[in-house]
Subunit: 202 residues, 2 copies
Amino acid sequence: MILHDLNPGMHPRRVRIFLAEKGMSIDQRQVDAAGGANATPEFLRLNPLGKLPVLELDDGSVITESLAICRYLEALNPDPPLMGRTPREAASIEMWVLRLDSELSRPIAQAFRHSGEFYRSRIKQVPEMAAWYRDYALDTMAWLDRELSERSYIAGAHYSMADIVAQCACVLGKAAELRIPSEMKHLTRWFAEVSSRPTARA
Amino acid sequence: MILHDLNPGMHPRRVRIFLAEKGMSIDQRQVDAAGGANATPEFLRLNPLGKLPVLELDDGSVITESLAICRYLEALNPDPPLMGRTPREAASIEMWVLRLDSELSRPIAQAFRHSGEFYRSRIKQVPEMAAWYRDYALDTMAWLDRELSERSYIAGAHYSMADIVAQCACVLGKAAELRIPSEMKHLTRWFAEVSSRPTARA
């Protein structure tokens, strides 16, 4: 297997942290997206959307979408479980993964895309969208802060895929001028904790 | 189990079609979101995000997010499989589910929210966002049209969760002035086919 990776990307980071938590290692190939290497005919054969990460299997077929890649890797290497052992546990973690993806990762990513220098020449930026998603992300952070007053991690007592999703969103938040406001004590405590795991720099 | 449902909603429709394809039936309770019933303290205890659908289990715990609900129901009732039998099949279908959710369902939903009458008093509408997402959704449709020139269904030769996601997006598209352009022959053929399944009106 080869993991086509993009070091600074939010979604590739999910997969790298996931692999590190599993103690797995896969051949990684950096794709120079800033230099346009994700828009070549060769790359678009791997993923017509031009997005990363991409997991290329030994038979040449591919899996894209970070969450689908992680679930596949979880099936190959169930321990330690990051997506739940039973259908009920898996459902609860997936609920949190999807909530975080929708309510935090995407708003931060859209705020970043529609305001950042990097995307200026790459998409049609709409400043109103950056502002709208910034407010949205801050509302989500306030909600998470309340949720995290009651438990250690996003989906319960244990670190899971939901924490990985939220943590990668908050890393991008630092580049998007969307840092966790310091008055959000519980969210700040959680982010310090997950960021101090040995896998956080994967 | 009780499925808290919202008849016209895109996400609840996914779960209803999924249940119909499985031949499962669950007690359903309509939530009058137009009348604010999803914003009452009682409902917010079920889902603090105020969103539907919500699956309430017999022990009173809940699963939200349509894709997490469907995966849980798939685990309870594996036949017919709609999310793949093997990890490899499951990964391929999940890849397509997530692509469609991100590239089609969300853009159509955002175009609808930021232009539709229903949301005028409910969110801060940004007309530029409606326009941006409309263009985005049309680009996705053109891509899907090319993909569907090569196979019967979104993720391969069989109807799957990926078709359900795309089909519910296209149903909302009709209300958002985002109908499939008639020159997109393959996507039009696919939508006619999935819409004629007995489960499409679930």
